[in-house]
């Protein structure tokens, strides 16, 4: 069982099998889904061991000089920002000392343990049905919320939503006293299925839920039409 319905997408992403649109949607989802960031780290750590299984092939002795010549011709690039979902898993000195293959195995184990602890699901505190507005009359969905300590896990799955144009996204909103808070963005597959599953760092409260169709996945307030709402 996976904590997030997008968990397996980590494989296609790591293998660079996604289209540009799929990659963008997945990276947007990663920014808000801890479970998927952990899963991606775990998949990548496993795949990154495969080069070690390759038969040894000796490069020509002249190759090093060619490399150094190329590097000498390259201006040093200016500082760039690290990936925003960069995820330190630990910083233990004992682990840092390990050779890289062994390090990867320990890292995979730590990631698996963290994923397993997330998958020991907290009891569902609230379950809500969603239905489509007249913009998406065929859409149906379900939302669940669970708390673990000070964290809140929310998960929503919908089907029957209209297909999106490139760059667009659906966005879930948690509405409390008229204020809207984003509950994550998602895209849908060919049959209109999609969903979010994220952890929020506080105790979430809401009176109602809404899903809008947004021009991009970056909004802090709804800009597009409402497509679904809580019943």
């Amino acid at each position: 069982m996976h904590t997030c319905p997008h968990a397996d997408e980590a494989i296609a992403y790591s293998l660079r099998q996604m289209t540009a649109d799929e990659t963008r949607a997945y990276e947007t989802h990663l920014a808000s889904c801890l479970a998927c960031r952990l899963k991606l780290e775990e998949v990548t750590a496993t795949l990154d061991l495969l080069p070690l299984a390759v038969p040894d092939a000796a490069p020509p002795p002249t190759l090093k000089a060619k490399v150094m010549e190329q590097v000498a011709a390259e201006p040093k690039a200016s500082r760039t920002a690290p990936r925003r979902w960069s995820l330190p898993v630990w910083a233990a000195a004992a682990v840092i000392a390990l050779a890289f293959g062994t390090y990867s195995l320990v890292r995979i184990q730590v990631l698996q343990e963290r994923l397993a602890s997330m998958e020991r699901a907290a009891p569902v505190e609230r379950a809500v049905s969603l239905r489509g507005t007249e913009s998406a009359p065929a859409a149906t969905g379900r939302f669940v919320m669970a708390r673990e300590g000070n964290m809140t896990r929310i998960a929503m799955e919908a089907e029957g939503l209209p297909p999106l144009q490139s760059g667009e996204a659906y966005q879930l909103w948690l509405i409390k006293d008229g204020q809207r808070r984003s509950g994550g963005v998602f895209v849908v597959d060919a049959i209109g299925c999609g969903g979010v599953a994220i952890w929020l760092p506080d105790a979430v409260e809401f009176d109602a839920l809404g899903i809008t169709r947004e021009p991009d996945p970056l909004g802090l307030q709804p800009r597009g039409p409402k497509m679904m709402g809580s019943i």
Binding site: P51, P55, A57, V67, V71, S86, F100, T102, S104
Partner: protein
């Protein structure tokens, strides 16, 4: 000097650190590219490209996210995948299958740790169900998309996804539980 210190030297603009990292990882980078491309000249081009990228992005390396060797080989992998795909678009028939595995050469002294780990990864790969290993290898070393694998094997897309996922899960499981003999030799690894 350890790898992380070499990366810090690169980030500070010291080009000689690239040469030191090439001495440690150049052979593995070349071997991976050669495995995926079966073309020595192209593998040389990839290797040059990889170390230029390593030089350019030294200040992005994050020691908490992995080893320097993993980082360099990851760059080698993505660079090679991109080249395989570009070449496949230009010459589809030449890349419609995985290149044959070249004969393994003797590992030079100083690569013992990598060789032991490599043997463990190879062994784990061989323990995966053959159809799952095939799908995983076509996806990883063959740089094929799920659709390309489905067309090549004449199986549904969902089956390809399932085989790659199960193959990867099995690989992880076998890596974490090596057979006894490998576990013993692995235990003799000394930390760097």
């Amino acid at each position: 000097m350890d790898d992380v210190a070499l990366v810090a030297r690169m980030a500070a603009g010291d080009q000689s650190a690239v040469g030191d990292l090439y001495d440690r990882y150049g052979r593995q980078v070349y071997s991976l590219a050669f495995r995926m491309l079966a073309d020595g000249a192209a593998a040389e081009d990839v290797t040059q490209d990889v170390f230029v990228k390593v030089w350019r992005s030294a200040d992005r390396f994050d020691a908490e996210r992995g080893r320097v060797g993993t980082w360099i080989l990851h760059i080698a992998y993505t660079t090679t995948v991109d080249l395989v795909r570009t070449r496949r678009r230009a010459m589809p028939s030449r890349f419609d299958d995985l290149p044959d595995e070249p004969d393994a050469a003797a590992d030079p002294a100083g690569m013992a740790e990598t060789a032991i780990m490599g043997a463990q990864v190879k062994s784990a790969l061989m323990r995966i169900a053959p159809e799952q290993r095939q799908a995983l290898e076509l996806a990883y070393f063959g740089a094929m998309t799920q659709q390309e694998i489905a067309a090549k094997l004449g199986i549904p897309l969902g089956t390809v996804k399932g085989r790659v996922r199960l193959g990867l899960e099995a690989l992880r499981q076998f890596l974490m539980t090596p057979r006894r003999k490998e576990a013993d030799s692995h235990a003799h690894l000394s930390p760097r």
